[in-house]
Amino acid sequence: MTAILERPVGSASRDASDVVRRARRGPARHRRRLLAVLSLAVVGAFAVRVLLGDYTVTIPDFVRIVGGEKIPGATYIVMESKLPRAVLAVLVGLAFGVGGAIFQTTLRNPLASPDIVGVSLGASAAAVSAIALGGWSGWSVSLAAIGGAVGVALAVRAVAGDHGGFRLVLAGIGLAAAMQSVIQYVFTRVDEWDVQLVLRWLTGSVNGVDWATIGLLAAVLGVLLPATAWAAHSLVATELGDDTAAGLGVGRRRTDLLMFLGVLLVAVGVAAAGPVAFVAFLSGPIARALNRGRTTLAGAGLVGAVIVLVADYAGAYAFADLNLPVGVVTGAFGAPFLLWLLARDHTSRRAA
């Protein structure tokens, strides 16, 4: 009797635990596979960016150039133009992608990305003021950018109060307009109007950056990204809302720390390449869709890197003799996506 009763129960529970195990393993495996595919995509886009274009470099030549061999013409083009652009594109793509996904996930609103709520422009306004009016350079510009980004983030939070959603986004849009005015004012103060300067700090560009800046960004990201990975363990709980997160043992402080890391990531990215439009906004939702609706910060970072690489390549070579900065390309194609998101009404559910 007992045996008869026990057998089905036991097998059922074994089945159930099996199902649970498989259900847990499935997404994890899918995520690993996705990250591998995205990493390959980054490598592929990187290779295309460096090797192809108006001046084609073969892979053996590339290896020799990076190894230090001097090939007339090619060495200069690769080491001074193509390679720094591609490396910077990957770095800022990672920074904006991860930073944007942190914002969107923590605030639980796809519209609340740092480039829409003015954090990127705040960093840019501070950086361009420091450069043009204060004569700063190097790491102090990054510090200024961080100050601007943190300032705007705190201001948005102060204005929006506990109301997330549209109110926070609107407050950010207002502050973004103010920051844009600051940047435009700084441009009227510089003696010689420099188109490259304007493009970098108003729209974002990976063009003409020296290796020192890139090295600085790489070093800072080398600290920030692992810290983010450590802090992001709580992200799943955070997505369920502040109260639920607190109930699950994830305090407000942990969320704030993650948010602060997001602000820092965006700020150092802006200090190197300017506020590249919509990369932070696009990366998170795309990575999420690819990951079957689950948030993945690493995926968002890789998607960001692919976006910046591809957009920079398209801006440089898609239009005959026109060298468009990457921010113009991402802005031109990111805005329709934002409008589509608004039209699809995915946002109003989270409006409250």
């Binding site: 207002g174 973004a176 307009a177 103060r189 109003s348």
Partner: protein, 344 residues
């Protein structure tokens, strides 16, 4: 929705309670005209070089040339400001949206983009040639923003409209920059225009735009009663015998003419159309037959004052009127969000 434009007074008429506390209409009008005149005189006298008062009437005064240069820009500021203030009041009335403004809802960006297409791709360079383009761009942007924001259960809420307008503005700004990069010469002349400025433009520019502004203003003032009726709601307005679709079209046409011309003359200036109607309504009440003319006067005064302050606030450089407008407008915008956030 407590902050929405039309309130109880629209239903009960101008004698329905609130207005009794406000100054009488002639007094308000006198004050507004006096403020405007004062702003105009200050705009002639104040700047990098201060000008003594007697240069205004002494033809042989050494500072006479400065006064004449400032006179042109003051006139332009008056026209542009009146147009923007009026357009903002019309938009806020038509969409019953306290956050409506030609800058925020993407109308200016649409006009800018269309004009830049005309300049860079078709080589247009006279204002008369690209004014029609500005109208088309302004209308297309306004329609697009409303269409996108209207999708969804809750319709075109003020918040959704503002976010959609900002998104469209950002995208159009990128396209505009891309077009300008292909044409460095246009970009150089765009440098200050793109920020919003009334300096350095002659009266001939104003003469081209003025007829459109006058037509727009006449349509707008004729539409004041329409707005009052529309404020009662679509059904009630129709019950009162209004052809609401035609009414809306008349007002929309006025908005496009005013905002499009203002953008063509002075660049995309935001926030004037947002701030002015709110101040005016606080002073004269929600009746559109009063709000519209007073918004014209107040908008003109605000732009001229902003331009004058911009000349002296951060020497040695001049702060463009578009930047000054943002400095005034952003705090108001944020205050409005804070006030109306709960209801939306």
């Amino acid at each position: 929705m407590t902050a929405l434009v039309p309130t109880r007074e629209d239903v009960t008429g101008p004698h329905g309670g609130g207005p009794a506390r406000r100054p009488a209409l002639p007094a308000s009008a006198a004050i507004a005209v006096a403020v405007l005149a004062g702003a105009g005189v200050l705009s002639l006298l104040v700047g990098a070089n201060a000008v003594p008062l007697d240069a205004l009437w002494d033809e042989g005064h050494p500072a006479r040339a400065i006064v004449e240069a400032r006179f042109e820009r003051t006139l332009l500021g008056l026209a542009v400001g009146a147009a923007l203030g009026l357009a903002g009041a019309l938009m806020q009335g038509l969409t019953r949206n306290p956050l409506a403004d030609p800058g925020i809802l993407g109308v200016n960006a649409g006009a800018t983009f269309a004009m830049v297409i005309g300049m860079t791709m078709f080589g247009l360079d006279a204002l008369g040639q690209f004014l029609p383009l500005a109208f088309v761009g302004a209308a297309a942007a306004a329609v697009l923003v409303h269409a996108i924001a209207s999708v969804g259960r809750d319709g075109a809420t003020p918040m959704k409209l503002a976010i959609t307008g900002a998104a469209l503005s950002a995208g159009l700004a990128s396209w505009t920059t891309g077009l300008l990069l292909a044409d460095r010469k246009t970009m150089e002349s765009f440098r200050f225009w793109q920020v919003g400025t009334i300096g350095g433009r002659g009266l001939d520019v104003l003469a081209v735009g003025l007829p459109f502004l006058v037509v727009g203003a006449l349509l707008a003032l004729a539409g004041a009663r329409l707005l009052n009726t529309l404020a009662l709601g679509e059904d009630l307005a129709r019950g009162l015998g209004r052809r609401t679709t035609r009414d809306r079209l008349v007002i929309a046409l006025a908005i496009v003419l005013l905002a499009g011309t203002a953008t063509a003359l002075a660049g995309p200036i935001a926030f004037v159309g947002l701030v002015v109607p709110h101040v005016v309504r606080a002073l004269v009440g929600p009746d559109h037959t009063r709000v519209l003319p007073f918004s014209m006067l107040a908008g003109a005064a605000l732009v001229v004052v902003a331009d004058t302050v911009g000349r002296i606030v951060l020497p040695p450089s001049e702060v463009q009127v578009g930047i000054m407008a943002a400095a005034v407008g952003v705090p108001v915008f944020i205050a409005l969000i804070r006030r109306t956030g709960r209801a939306m």
